[in-house]
Amino acid sequence: MTPKQIRLAAIGGGLAFLALAAGIALTALEDNIVFFRSPSELAAKPAAIGEAMRIGGLVREGSVKRDGLRADFEVTDLAHDIGVTYEGMLPDLFREGQGVVAEGRFDASGRFIADTVLAKHDETYMPPEVAEALEKSGKLKAPYAQHRGRAEQDGERPQ
């Protein structure tokens, strides 16, 4: 091939490849993003059954019930609550009254079936989504506002 043909082939091939890669990436992105919803948002606009999402808030005091590996609890932003069911090992600092994020989907009965539960790693930390959800519901108290972002996330993470 002449240099000119080679250059044309290289440019054409490169562009075709980039278009293909961009196509794959955008489709993958469309299929795999997960939205975060707060209890108040869900009360205003209920989610479709089976849609993957993250919810978050505080674990409502006195709501945790354990039975073997199964744990039932309520996540609240102090304005609205969501009933959550999780089967498995809860993260280190899962506590009543503390911030938590759960990933999963709603079943037909309106319960949130969590695949993953993420909790904070020390006592001053609040997941940012949770802090924001609490701010929006107007219930956030001072100490959390100061500590947002300090320290670290996630007793557990999605795998």
Binding site: M1, P3, I6, A9, A10, G14, F17, L18, A21, I24, A25, T27, A28, L29, D31, N32, I33, V34, F35, F36, R54, R66, D67, G68, L69, G88, M89, L90, D92, L93, F94, H121, D122, E123, P127, P128, E129, E132, R148, G149, R150, A151, E152, Q153, D154, E156, R157, P158, Q159
Partner: protein, 642 residues
């Protein structure tokens, strides 16, 4: 007193860095020798001063001087010495001081080791001087590590327990040595752009430095991954967490740069692309720092959420990138066009390598930045997780790994595959055969695999055999003295080792993700747990005291297999000072797989236990080590020649 000395040393370092950045610029035309002499001296002195400051801060941590704000916030008397030292960089201010130390160290190392002392060397040091100025100013004006507290508190707040770990002591220095090392790529690119087209000589001078940076970054990322695997207690090795992605992007771009710089050096071709890549790689290293340090992302790595700091780093990132790109645009026409080459040639294949790696970089960038953009526009909070990255990386890996082994086997300019067709057919045949074998034996226990997974296994094996073929070709001239290992040329091992490392890592990732087994049980004492053909017995729980924590320790006993009779002890630790809790997994490490046990909370009179079996997971980090080793062989070759 010591702390004030450290602070003073930092201020002096800023003065010296300013001198290094400006004085040689003025003298470059009139007195080039003086300019270089000043730049070299200044980089030595700057390094010595920052080292002094670093020593002063370390002293503060070791002596638990709680009048220092960072020591108070991040240390505690009841902490083992090694973590007091590691605590120096276990916080924002200290880690930025480490960053500055490494910037200065690279400058001083270049001044010390550069073989040719000319205007080019002076320009490299000038750019390093500017970097020193920017980061020292950032440190002194927004993140002073020597800030005092009055009155001094009696006790510190302690270091986050999950950071109290030997791997974490080494992870940040390695990673920073990688990130900052790519500042050398930037400095060389700018020095090349401001000079004449010297036929790729600049690329020859740049390669050992980007190799060094790449080796450190590879090790740093691997160590971070290993730490997350054993310390965070959920057994994953890579989470596609934005912070991990921030380190992966410069690694991907840096890997592309290593390869394109080879073409620029040997063939005086792909120069313009290599220069651009050098600037981009450093820009990605800086944006990694920005993402991590600004609090834009929340993760284990976000020490502080201070908008002022984020803006400052953003300004540094924007400033250096802008200067780089403007110079690139202005000076590019001076660089001669590429020499022609056939598509089937080593250049051609290296170009393909660069296209793939650049695509991978863009893919990671998209997945990392998209949630931030959406959030900034108020369009909702989303997370882009592993499914996206897996969906993109899997199909991308197949053609990449398929073509990769051909590159090193081809000649420059115009390669011919014909003479190699028998060996290549053998390698391909072996790969197919072994893949079939693996699928047949494994499908009994794990069911069939998808076509994508089968293809990935096959290309990974092809990559491994291709690398062996490459090694055989390189060693062919030395056939008579193969047993005298030390007399073989180091260069023969570099590419085959690095490529085999990638293959080993791919195999590890595939095996560990495809054949992983997991069991969660609420166990009563003496209950048996079966996983992956291994029988374990849960013996019970006891309380123990550590140096700065209390722990609940479970005991499990192997009832069968090679480890029969041995005990393992997963723990849950409670750290008094930090008021935090961690999970210490018990891991039995074999090359063929890890048994990974974690103890959870009580459920009635039982204990929740979670046990995984991760087959061949060690291959992942072994592969990374092989890659770094391959890089080291290339570096040794280069140093010998210099």
């Amino acid at each position: 007193m010591i702390a004030e000395l450290g602070h003073f040393a930092l201020v002096m370092a800023l003065v010296v860095a300013t001198l290094q950045a400006i004085a040689p610029l003025y003298l470059a035309r009139t007195a080039p020798d003086t300019a270089l002499a000043i730049a070299m001296r200044a980089s030595f002195i700057q390094f010595a001063l920052v080292l002094l400051a670093f020593a002063a801060l370390t002293y503060g941590f070791v002596r638990s001087d709680f009048s220092l704000a960072v020591v108070f916030a991040n240390s505690h008397i009841a902490k083992p010495l090694i973590y007091k030292i590691a605590g120096v960089w276990g916080n924002h201010e200290g880690s930025m001081l480490l960053w500055v130390l490494i910037v200065a160290a690279y400058g001083a190392a270049y001044a010390r080791f550069t073989d040719i002392k000319d205007g080019f060397a002076a320009r490299v040091l000038i750019v390093q001087g500017w970097l020193g100025v920017a980061f020292l100013a950032f440190l002194l004006f927004t993140s002073n590590p020597f800030a005092r507290l009055l009155p001094a508190p009696f006790s510190g707040q302690g270091l986050t327990p999950i950071l109290q770990d030997p791997a974490l002591a080494a992870h940040p220095p390695l990673l920073y040595a990688g990130y900052v090392g790519f500042s050398m790529a930037y400095a060389f690119a700018l020095a090349a752009l401001t000079g004449a087209d010297d036929g790729g000589n600049w690329a020859r001078r740049m390669r050992p430095w980007i190799l060094t940076a790449w080796i450190f970054l590879t090790l740093g990322i691997a160590l971070g991954s290993y730490w997350a695997y054993y310390e965070l207690g959920w057994g994953g090795f890579w989470f596609w967490d934005p912070v991990e992605n921030a380190s992966l992007m410069p690694w991907l771009a840096g890997t592309a740069l290593l390869h394109s710089a080879l073409v620029a050096e040997k063939r005086d071709t792909l120069k313009r692309w290599t220069l651009l890549l050098a600037i981009i790689t450093f820009a990605l290293s800086l944006s990694g720092t920005f993402l991590v340090r600004s609090g834009v992302l929340t993760s284990v790595h976000a020490f502080a959420n201070d908008p002022e700091r984020g803006l400052f780093i953003l300004a540094i990132l924007g400033g250096f990138s802008l200067v780089g790109f403007i110079l690139y645009g202005l000076r590019l026409p001076r660089f001669a066009a590429d020499k022609p080459f056939q598509p089937v040639s080593r250049e051609g294949l290296l170009l393909v390598n660069n296209i793939f790696l650049a695509t991978a970089t863009v893919t990671v960038f998209l997945g990392t930045i998209y949630p931030l953009i959406l959030d900034a526009l108020g369009m909702g909070k989303i997370s882009v997780g592993a499914p996206y990255f897996n969906a993109v990386f899997a199909p991308l890996t197949i053609p990449f790994a398929l073509l990769l082994p051909l590159g090193p086997l081809l000649n420059w300019r115009e390669g011919r595959l014909k003479p190699l067709q028998n060996s290549l057919a053998l390698a391909a045949g072996l790969a197919v055969l072994v893949t079939c074998g693996i699928m047949l034996t494994r499908s009994v226990a794990h069911g069939g695999s998808s076509l994508m997974i089968i293809a990935l296994f096959a290309v990974a094996l092809w990559l491994l055999f291709g690398a062996s073929l490459d090694l055989a070709q390189r060693l062919a001239p030395y056939r008579s003295r193969l047993t005298q290992f030390w007399r073989l040329p180091a260069s023969a091992f570099s590419a085959p080792l690095a490529h085999a490392g990638l293959a080993v890592m791919l195999l590890g990732i595939l095996a560990a993700t495809q054949w992983r087994e997991e069991i969660v049980v609420a166990a009563a004492p003496n209950q048996q747990i079966d996983i992956a053909g291994i029988a374990l017995r849960y013996d019970g729980l006891r309380e123990i005291d550590g140096p700065n924590y209390r722990a609940e320790q479970a005991r499990l006993t192997y009832l069968t297999g090679r480890h029969q009779g041995t005990h393992i002890f997963p723990e849950r630790r409670f750290y008094e000072a930090e008021r935090a809790q961690t999970t210490e997994a018990a891991i039995t490490t074999d090359l063929t797989g890890h048994l990974y046990a974690v103890v959870g909370e009580t459920s009635g009179d039982k204990r929740v236990l979670r046990v995984w079996y991760h087959p061949y997971v060690a291959f992942i980090w072994l592969g990374a080590l092989l890659m770094a080793l391959g890089g080291s062989f290339a570096l040794v070759t280069r140093l010998k020649r210099a």
